[in-house]
Symmetry: C2
Amino acid sequence: LLELREIAKIYRSGDQDFMALHDLDLDIERGEFVAVTGSSGSGKSTLMNILGCLDSPSRGTYRIDGRDVAGLSRIELAAIRNEFIGFVFQSFNLLARTSAAENVELPMIYARVPPAERRRRALESLERVGLGHRAGHHPSQLSGGQQQRVAIARALVTRPPLILADEPTGNLDSVTSLEIMGLLRELRSSGITVVFVTHERDIAAYADRQLALRDGAILSDTRSAEA
Amino acid sequence: LLELREIAKIYRSGDQDFMALHDLDLDIERGEFVAVTGSSGSGKSTLMNILGCLDSPSRGTYRIDGRDVAGLSRIELAAIRNEFIGFVFQSFNLLARTSAAENVELPMIYARVPPAERRRRALESLERVGLGHRAGHHPSQLSGGQQQRVAIARALVTRPPLILADEPTGNLDSVTSLEIMGLLRELRSSGITVVFVTHERDIAAYADRQLALRDGAILSDTRSAEA
Ligand SMILES: Nc1ncnc2c1ncn2[C@@H]1O[C@H](COP(=O)(O)OP(=O)(O)OP(=O)(O)O)[C@@H](O)[C@H]1O
Ligand SMILES: Nc1ncnc2c1ncn2[C@@H]1O[C@H](COP(=O)(O)OP(=O)(O)OP(=O)(O)O)[C@@H](O)[C@H]1O
Ligand SMILES: [Mg+2]
Ligand SMILES: [Mg+2]
């Protein structure tokens, strides 16, 4: 489904070049449940941004379902993101001036879902992350972990074929984290592909494949036995 | 050092009142190293904001070193925050348009530290969190965990008597988290009081006292034996 070949990402700041990813080859099949681990600054978010078509590599090719994304226009990339990918950002990226429910409705507006159905599905998605009672609150009226869960609810609401979650449990207590991981695992049993970044070992253990990054390269790629 | 008596915090949104903290009594002595745990939405950040004089309780009294903060003017409260408290926010709150080093210099500007010394101490503080090589970067050029560490470096740079850290390791891998906790523990051996929120059990274990919150109240208050 997702194919990265010889991917490199170089950030240029003034006179210094920094190589955030280098010589990265990666294949992810449909329905896989992959954890990405690695120390702070090792390139995890950079990799996720490339997988999510939010950023383009400096070198190498990225194919989604056989299609090279380098050739696509900005409009085509936006369409891929809206129709195909649900993204949970490391810093949530919620709209500050709208409620939790309205934030969750956003991907459905692109998909031209009618208002009444949008509302119903947004509330349903919020309930699944334990926030049905907070639907009307704005982000500033929510705790850190609640904001994180609104971001998760938003990424899941259109049931996209690919979910990319960057540290989805970083602000959540253990019980809530396990509920979220259970929710992601449930989705995956309906054929959805899930790639998530985490720095917690017991959260990474939910995946059936673990990619460890170090200094912008894949250090190890381990498939676990049937759990 | 810190004394909370019958603290309550009520958020009013429209017709609904929500009690984020209720009937909270708490004493924290100088030099203590306290972990605050609890599920998402249980009131941890609300408690930290009251301890840090960033928010006032709806009911009850809060005394710092015997002094009731309710009676203080906004200027006096700002002085207490600048001279006495180092705060690491759950969402970092870095200035986007200035470099990491300039962000870390900020508390020293209030303290009227001369420019050359400010620069030197900012770089030193960044090195202690492993970011000496990122001093010139702006927050958007830093990974999530790097931004978190800049926020930590900023809170520590004036060696304030009280450090309040809300999820300081939420975006950090295990190795970096342990380095940060080691750093906090080191500070505390020089008499600094540290209160930190975490949802990770092995991070909470660094403290010699653990406060568990539930639904806005203290569920348990455990002191560990000499570790
Ligand atoms: N301005 C506000 N208006 C209404 N409710 C609020 C407001 N700010 C916070 N709350 C509510 O108060 C409760 C406690 O929030 P708080 O941020 O203290 O939780 P927390 O324990 O820090 O959670 P987390 O672990 O998710 O960061 C939450 O249920 C939240 O929805
Ligand atoms: N715009 C940029 N300019 C320069 N360097 C950058 C830029 N964005 C990221 N970097 C650098 O690229 C490296 C990788 O960043 P990335 O965000 O992918 O790390 P990460 O693995 O997600 O880390 P974390 O666990 O802390 O979130 C970091 O060292 C960071 O400083
Ligand atoms: Mg990251
Ligand atoms: Mg919080």
